[in-house]
Symmetry: C2
Subunit: 306 residues, 2 copies
């Protein structure tokens, strides 16, 4: 990096023969997280994870980030240090460097704005608009854990002493950087999007951008076991809760029939499960299909607590 | 632009054989501007001008911007539209395109975060650290107008019906994009910084980064005539007010004796005045010199109203 933090701006070397992928996300206390039950490390981790997940959904490799923090006067210094440490730990794990930033005080709530710049090879960028009728719909990992974890935290007020795996999934989501990169590189996916606002929302968005419909098989959806137990114990429908809850940061993607063989490589040696949960159709309907029941419309997407 | 707003991230084509220059700045209502007397167009203009000025100070050409807005629920839609129009008008005048953004509600004050990415040719980036003893210190344009304009607005509460030129300078600062570019391209400047926090602050920062001292000639400082009249009428010292006030967004730069001839080209056909205001020295002192008086230390830099 020719010029670093401390000058008017940072100077970075662009990567050759690549396109750049840029994304910005703002997280506001009381809207996207709640400092009452989110430790500062988790805020720092999440602020970066959200943007990394956007890059993963484009099939891009992260290069550098800019961090802009708006801090309330009452934020203790150790909290700020823990916040930065949560951010930098995730950045280091992706070999992403912090190219610059901005720090300001505010009379309002804590606010974190993260810009991430990545690269993608030409014709390897994944978009939401490439799905065709007949393409199969896949999701990475398991879903619902973050939504259950958030409910646990909201109920308890503070993190439980022995944190439930769902709480960890909510507090420290792992963006699917490597999987997104592999899906783009080998051109396995025809469309891709991350699940920041829930699986139901992602299916709707990909279908709308691609001009297709979708049938989602309720029984095929990979729901986190801890989340299923939690939702069931509260008398809720685990499928509806899992697909309408946000914050999972898994990837939804579509694959044409002739490219299904390419998925093997994208599994990254089995480190990430890829589950077929439905198919794209030629009409405009986006529905959830359960064994022995009439098709139901997908529930609306998740909107952050406000 | 291969992929635009609406997907998970934006994809842009990098410029060949150039380095990238990136900067991010946050503006918070009540800290960096005050919605009570700053019209929404001016907030949009200023949010971008601040970052463009940082790029100018690096000698970089702006390429694209990302705009992240955190809006209070009470913000009327016409105000938001006027804000966006202020932003896009300045962007269009610099041929800068808006590559992406983020929009979120907040229980707190209005907050705008702008990331700008630009390019600079190798070995043409201007930094704060290149000044040497004997280099002459220059400033673009005239200073003090923005500080006077802010005082006028703070006093009146609302913009005066026939806006004073100082008020216009405060509300719609013009970043020195072209001058910065020319200073970098022809290697006229040894160091450069913008005046966002005032001339006194900029001199201190360049001196510290370069390991030099500085003597500023008080009588040479180009003070806006309207600002001088305003400060004098209030019994204040126009020099001290002008160099400690912020928001001018002019450039301070240093030039080695043998490169002074190159300044002619950087004047951009006389569109911008360049004034010699002092010289870098070999000791660590940073002082203001007035005719017939003992050297005095430069006043501290401007810190936004809080």
């Amino acid at each position: 990096m020719p010029v670093g933090i401390g000058d008017d701006a940072a100077v970075v070397e662009p990567e050759r023969n690549s396109l750049e992928v840029v994304t910005v996300d703002a997280l506001v206390d009381g809207v996207h997280f709640d400092r009452r039950f989110t430790p500062p490390e988790a805020i720092g981790h999440r602020a970066l994870a959200v943007s990394l997940s956007d890059l993963a959904a484009m099939g891009a490799a992260p290069r550098f980030a800019l961090l802009s923090c708006v801090l309330p006067p009452a934020l203790p210094l150790p909290d700020f240090e823990a916040f930065v440490s949560g951010f930098t730990a995730l950045a280091a794990s992706c070999r992403l460097h912090l190219a610059g930033g901005n720090l300001t005080r505010s009379p309002g709530p804590m606010m974190v704005d993260v810009t991430v710049v990545g690269t993608v090879k030409r014709r390897r960028a994944l978009t939401r608009g490439g799905a065709r009728p007949g393409d199969e719909i896949f999701v990475t990992g398991v879903i619902g854990a973050a939504a259950a974890g958030l409910q646990m935290l909201q109920q308890n007020g503070t993190p439980p002493p022995a944190a439930h795996s769902c709480v960890t999934r909510y507090l420290f989501p792992v963006p699917r950087v490597r999987t997104g990169l592999l899906l783009g590189r080998n051109r396995a996916a025809s469309a891709c999007m991350d699940l920041s606002d829930g699986l139901a929302d992602a299916v709707r968005q990909v279908a709308a951008a691609s001009g297709v419909g979708a049938v989602i098989d309720a029984d095929a959806i990979p729901i986190d076991e801890g989340a299923r137990t939690w939702f069931t114990a509260r008398g809720a429908d685990p499928v509806i809760e899992a697909i309408s809850g946000g914050d999972d940061y898994e990837l939804l993607f579509t694959v044409g029939a002739r490219r299904r063989g390419r998925l093997r490589a994208a599994r990254n040696g089995g480190a990430v499960t890829l589950t077929r949960i439905g198919v794209c159709t030629g009409d405009a309907r986006v529905v959830l299909r359960r064994r022995g029941a009439a098709d139901e419309p997908l529930p609306p997407g998740f909107h952050h607590f406000r």
